[in-house]
Symmetry: C2
Subunit: 141 residues, 2 copies
Amino acid sequence: MIDDFSPRTQRLRDGGHKLTHARLTVLRVLEDSGGHITSSEVLERVNQVDASIGRASVFRTLDLFTHLAIIRPTYLNSSITPTYVLMPNGHHHHIICTQCNQVIEFDECGLERMTAELETRFGVKLTGHLLEFYGLCERCQ
Amino acid sequence: MIDDFSPRTQRLRDGGHKLTHARLTVLRVLEDSGGHITSSEVLERVNQVDASIGRASVFRTLDLFTHLAIIRPTYLNSSITPTYVLMPNGHHHHIICTQCNQVIEFDECGLERMTAELETRFGVKLTGHLLEFYGLCERCQ
DNA sequence: TTAGATGCAAATAGTTTGCATTTGT
DNA sequence: ACAAATGCAAACTATTTGCATCTAA
């Protein structure tokens, strides 16, 4: 029996999804990561917390969270492993150096107006966004 | 001997990279794709055009183009295969439905000012950006 | 009670590597 | 001429699947 009614888990409950031990563990790992973490790292850390949780469940959970727009996979480093960014407030922004892959995060983006416009224009219901600038960092220029 | 001096290939020449048959073929495939194409599709189409081009070269080329900011890998559909978006003008924007993965592209983004601000603030040299909104499309709401 | 979620292990899929050979400049 | 890039095939890494079992609601 799991009785977590915190707001973080609301999106899960809302969708009619069960609040399982595996899912809560993955959520916890994502939150503790600070918001940038590869699937391999999630796998590793989940395994450290509870070795009885299987690989497949972790992937299924990452998939579910992506559909729920709780996280979003991006390519920060390797081209083979995605990095998941947490979207606690529905959005995430960063600059990534295409040379050394350094990531610089920043907060404000001022896209509220554009969000509203797009919703009207395309009849969609937007829950978040990812804004990624790329170029060369100070050292790589 | 390859004598393509079109602007498209300028970024390649500039970086001191050779204008090889394999690279031109991959570039062509990317351009013909309309701007959204998975690595597997690139592989397949390159193979159709010239079966003598090896898998490894295609991947090496996609990697190079990513570093040159000619393309950018994103996750549109599967979580196992990235989709490469072409950045002919340095940027790309779309809305993606987290339910059915439908992609709606749009052009304007008005991020020129923010680009300039970030360059000053962080001392970086930005060459482009990717703006991805997510939510539910008309049919999935 | 039962639909939904899980863990396992095997199957698939995707990407990278090392190296001898070729090619653009 | 020669550094850079290539093709090959094998190695490697990442993700998904099928299914019997378990569990949150």
